[in-house]
């Protein structure tokens, strides 16, 4: 009930396909049920600052069983989780691009994408998650 390397590669392939379609090179990361990295790729030309962010988005999405964009809505000033981005050693990403991977209704991993706008990161992550 977790994510195999084969699963991760299928998710990444679908995400890469979507990134190519929108013409924005991306970092794509997949974690398992424990939040541990299974696989990561940085497409040629993608931002080096997004290596860490893609991995952290995937971690965050599994760590709280939530899309990072939804966590972000609750993490703005004056919202209930404001300040959460500073917890867990700075690993909590609170902007779009992290999407849970579920099996039989249980979150067993997550995919994190970083390299474009929030909207671009989100659509690429969703394409990845759809392939799980």
């Amino acid at each position: 009930m977790s994510v195999t390397l084969e699963d991760a590669r299928r998710v990444i392939a679908a995400a890469e396909k979507r990134a190519d379609e929108i013409g924005q090179p991306m970092n794509i990361a997949v974690v398992d049920s424990g939040g541990n990295l299974v696989a990561h790729v940085r497409q040629d030309g993608a931002w080096i600052g997004s290596v860490n962010i893609s991995i952290n988005k995937a971690w965050t999405s599994k760590a709280f069983d939530i899309q990072t964009k939804d966590l972000g809505d609750n993490a703005q000033p004056n919202q209930q989780f404001y300040g959460i981005h500073a917890t867990n050693g700075g690993k909590v990403a609170i902007f779009a691009g992290g999407v849970p991977l579920s099996r039989d209704g249980v979150v067993v991993g997550a995919v994190g994408v970083s390299g474009g706008s929030g909207e671009q990161d989100q659509t690429v992550a969703e394409a990845g998650a759809d392939a799980f």
Copy 2:
């Protein structure tokens, strides 16, 4: 004048009971007068990202002898403690769920809860503190 392991277990048991009542699995942590961890439990199914947050809420609550939700009110942008969440190596939690444990009017420890909404974390932490 601190918190024994027996105290911590009584606090955690009461908090777990409340978490079960509201149907939300939680991370619950108790620290002593030095802010050091006495005990922690993660209920089955509770978020792994909340391990750190529950411990940090307890630490924060003792470190400033305050409920974390009250600290949070003062830690929003343009308020007097804005930025405090980035101090102390990121250990300062500024959202609901950390409640002091007092004896004879003196704060001698704290309980921290994370795993649900701010309201849920708070009610579980209060149930724990009431049992101290």
Copy 3:
């Protein structure tokens, strides 16, 4: 195939019993298959510096599916893993007291103990693991 809170409490109870027998208060931590903390206790009078060490011993033991004392043998100067204690953000403990928890031959978690001599930590951790 991981470690429940009930499992962790059984392991901790057995470890505490052994710590009481040898008269040395201990920190005892249990992690699940992802290396994430399930439960921790610090017995009254146990070292506060051992909170972190007990958790890290448990993490290390699961992270490498090995007893920390055996990893330690390989992590001495001029041995094959010398320097490993500085990896993973300093979470790798290379002295006795971390023991894997296995089910059907698979490591699904670990217990970490810190608070006494290496020999004392080890016997307490083994007592915990035996109860799994």
Copy 4:
């Protein structure tokens, strides 16, 4: 003059093939000329504590244009680089498994492998580098 994602995949495929031959699941990471991660895979069953180490071995190998095992020889107590493992935020790996990737005599990236003995990590990393 760096490492493309296609290059990294070819290196990783060759390393995986060697890991399969010796029957030891591995973490394999490839970095580019800037030391930044291009791709990482964790084979099913490989140690979660080796995610970080594989990436750090690759980083170290490029950062000093050297095999990590050779750096390790110089990083033992009383040797010229003793203590280097504590620099760079703990990213310097000083044991076998990190091998430079060169083109026309220039180091343009590196591969890092972790998951077995030092000898196993080294042979898998060399198989990866040979495919560059």
